[in-house]
């Protein structure tokens, strides 16, 4: 970013403050690149790049937010003026005043995702060759369709606020999926897939994708599992134990712990679209969300995840803390403005520190409370084989095909790609079309086994949708193998 641009932004922030804005921030995105390559049955069906840049300005005036964004960087002054005007109009209808709380001391900081090899410096040819190699490993006569995709993202963003804080961030993300599909003995399409994951450590450039342990080595496994699925019977309806592999566990955590614990959702700011939360301000310190085996953290302090980004879009640092401690709800995903409002409405200081969860997907969206990394901490119940050995009647499930959740996240229904039936401590066969459903707190209170650190992986999420205008966000979930008892599974005839 050139000094002239910086000066222009700072002058405009000052001008808004002179006009009695209570708080102003600006996010200048100088480059936001994404690239998608996608092979479908050997055809390169996506070979796309996108480049965005521009500025988003947020103004707090008389307890109300105004926001404006433009992709025309010759109109920065107009953008600030529009943001101010929008805040002024909004301030005409205020029941609860928004405040950023105590004025903070400005600071300068920077953050860069750990990455060895910039994926945008790897040639398209090399990327395509990499996908082609995987494709040739997936190809079999009996496989009906093959799918491999990789997405690369790079964003350079500069944050400024009226408290004097200036933060520059360079974020890199790499996502990838492979999938094989086949027609089963009833003519229904079945699939097995694998998504690029991390173990929380390491770096997240091109090197993440080419690490065989994390991606390419899984081709044989998903083909073998698909072959078994094609001749499998469907899961029958009934109550039994459900063991979630991390490929399914991350989505369970995402939908029934992550989303209901977003503070803006708890406070009722997402009702008209995403919905509310069964959690309320009285729940903190009282609600037994799950069994004593359930320990959930936000952020987690690990560097290699799309949910690790240094500073949020309020300028607050990411913070590692527990949200659920031995089953008890103690904290949630928070941002600066929301914790002030929550503490005021509750009449007590529920939240002491800012969670660093205020995030915007692009310069043209205003930040809202989002997940960072929402993680179930590893337990002491051993490896998958140990958990299976302790199961009398159950299923092990992996990878979601369908997810539908109640508007307050109080109940859910999930479909998975595959199930392995477990009887008397042994995996006995593969079952297709597995589904399970439950009510959130009842489900987590039936958590009876949590796998150890060796079972724990970080699922990478590149498509979490929330907010209006809608924002698609990148985040992570560290989860071990999890076992729940007495779960309704399969569909009633």
């Amino acid at each position: 970013m050139n000094e002239k641009m910086r000066k222009t932004i700072l002058e405009n922030i000052s001008r808004s403050v002179v006009k009695k804005a209570e708080y102003v921030d600006a996010r200048l995105v100088t480059e936001d690149y994404s690239e998608s390559v996608f092979l479908y049955d050997g055809n390169l069906e996506a070979n796309d790049t996108t480049f965005e840049n521009g500025i988003g300005v947020r103004t707090l005036y008389n307890g109300a937010w105004g926001f404006a964004a433009t992709s025309d960087l010759s109109k920065i002054k107009e953008c600030f003026e529009l943001s101010f005007k929008n805040a002024k109009t909004a301030s005409e209808l205020v029941n609860i005043s928004i405040t950023m709380g105590k004025k903070q001391k400005g600071f300068t900081a920077s953050y860069e995702s750990p990455a060895k090899q910039d994926p945008f410096k790897v040639s398209l040819k090399e990327k395509i060759e990499f996908l082609k190699d995987i494709d040739s490993n997936l190809k079999e006569d009996w496989i009906f369709k093959r799918y491999i995709s990789a997405t690369f993202q790079k964003k350079n963003q500069y944050f400024f606020n009226s408290e004097g804080t200036e933060i520059d961030r360079k974020l890199t993300d790499v996502f990838a999926t492979m999938m094989v599909m086949g027609l089963d003995n009833e003519g229904q399409m079945q699939r097995r897939s694998h998504e690029l994951f991390t173990k929380g450590d390491g770096t997240r450039g091109w090197e993440l994708l080419v690490d065989p342990k994390l991606f390419t080595s899984h081709t044989v496994r998903i083909k073998e599992e698909l072959a078994e699925l094609l001749k499998a019977e469907s899961l029958k309806h009934g109550k039994r134990s459900v063991i979630l592999l991390p490929g399914q566990g991350w989505l369970q955590v995402h939908e029934t712990i992550g989303h209901p614990l977003e503070l803006d959702r708890i406070l009722g700011y997402e009702l008209s679209f995403a919905g509310g939360s069964f959690v309320n301000l009285d729940s903190f310190g009282k609600l037994k969300y799950g069994s004593d085996k359930l320990n959930v953290s936000a952020y987690g302090g690990f560097p290699n995840s799309p949910g690790s980004f240094g500073f949020d879009d309020d300028g607050s640092p990411e913070r590692d803390y527990l949200m659920i401690d031995k089953g008890l709800l103690v904290n949630c995903l928070t941002s600066r403005a929301m914790i002030n409002e929550a503490n005021e409405r509750a009449g007590r200081k529920i939240f002491k520190d800012i969670g660093g969860a205020s995030r915007a997907t692009a310069f043209y969206r205003a930040p809202i409370d989002r997940m960072t990394n929402v993680n179930i901490l590893p337990g002491n119940d051993g490896k998958l084989k140990d958990i299976i050995a302790s199961t009398e009647d159950g299923i092990v499930v992996d990878n979601p095909t369908s997810w539908s959740i109640g508007s307050n996240r109080e109940h859910f229904h999930f479909g998975c790609e595959i199930a392995w039936e477990v009887k008397n401590g042994k995996k006995i066969r593969v079952l297709k079309n597995p589904t399970y459903q439950g009510h959130t707190t009842e489900f987590y209170n039936s958590l009876t086994a949590v796998g150890d650190k060796s079972t724990w992986v970080v699922g990478q999420v590149d498509s979490c949708g929330k907010g209006e205008p809608n924002q698609v966000m990148e985040l992570g979930h560290g989860v071990p193998v999890l076992k729940f008892d007495n779960v309704i599974t399969g569909e009633r005839k």
């Binding site: 404006a68 928004i98 398209l124 803006d264 008209s272 997810w403 479909g415």
Partner: protein, 459 residues
Amino acid sequence: MISAKIKKIFEEARKEALKQKVQANLSYHSEKSHLMRIGNNSVSLNTSENLTRLDISVTIGRKQGTHTQMGEISSAKYIIDALKIAIDKANNSLDLDFTPLKEIVEENFVQTDQFDKKLEDLDPAFKMEAYKKIIETVGQQYNYSGSWSSGSTEHFFMTTENENSAYHLVTDQLFNIVLKHPDKKWELSSTQTGWKKSDFKAAKTIKEFQKLLPVYENHKGFKVKTCKYTVVLGSAAIAEVMEMALWTGFYGRTYEEKRAWTSKNKAGDKILGSNITLMDDPSNPDTFRFSFDMSGKKRKKFVLCKDGKLKNIMYDSQTAAMYKKKPTGHNIGGTSIVLATGKGEGDKSLLKAVKDMGTVLYIPALHYINLPNASKGIFTGSSRFNAVLIKNGKIVSPIFSSRITDNFQSVFGNVKVISSESVSFNGSNTYGRRSPVAISVPSYMVCEKVKITDCADSF
């Protein structure tokens, strides 16, 4: 019309593409968007976004590359530089195993018949005042949240195949408000849509809330048993389920790849009830109309299902090329899907229509629908706003959040009554770029033997 400057810049870029001997589709997308959000009876966000995007796709023989760029298109150099990126991508691509169809803009299209300058320039203060009026009139003891998106979308494109161009300018709005009881936790909702400023009337929402409030205030919530019910689906629920049925049943890609619930069927087969007729009708005023698709093909009325029988499948140009079919004008997000109305009583007489049916659940909208088994047409989703239990034509109580898990063939195969009134359901999402889309559906449908598979202990 598109500005003369943009048109000239695009014509220069087209000349450059021809000089480079590539096929190119050059597209301009510009939006002026405004959105106001309400939370806890306050304006929680008031946002304006002015964004311009350039999309370029290039085909060289069987190789393709695309590049999208956000920013002001100020010169021919800007667009030619972006074109070079797309050409480079195509040159370094792989040969497809089919020959892509040439994208030919069939005629010079100019469509501005759903543009309202008053809506494009709508002062946010108008929205704030409307919300204020609704809150003050219905009662400040409730908790209100909502959103109101409005704006204009300008789209212009041309290809290297001829000198024609296509231009589309549209305005749209989607108003939404949720009323929540602070203690009892039930929620009511009201939605309005349209392409003109005058399509919104605060009085309509006030009337809807005032009609439903006594039912919710005076009755406790009812926990529904898990079994089969006669269910009256309201317009939003019909539209949401039908959109899923379309996506997984009537698009060429899923159909040809045997992933569709219709894949085992051919034209003429009975797939839904004989009272179900479904079409894409770009002349329907309940929808946002597009007279051409993004490959330049003229769009016409296209019947998908007639009297329950499969008639046609929609093919975009890529799928058509892949499976050697004719493209049907469906390189487009904004189809104009119309589910035909029936002979039932209108919306005002819904209770009369079900008075001899005993116990009936009225579910106006479904939250978070998904597909546990797309091949079998199985969907699942749960009730939310304004849902009530009706007995012998009288509303008995509101119902707790209840889950339907059933299949399209059964739900749309056992429809006893279809309302004679149509409703426009705005299905636009606010992900990424502005792109209005609406579906026209009957205001209600009475469906028999619908499976309720779960019910929460709360709303």
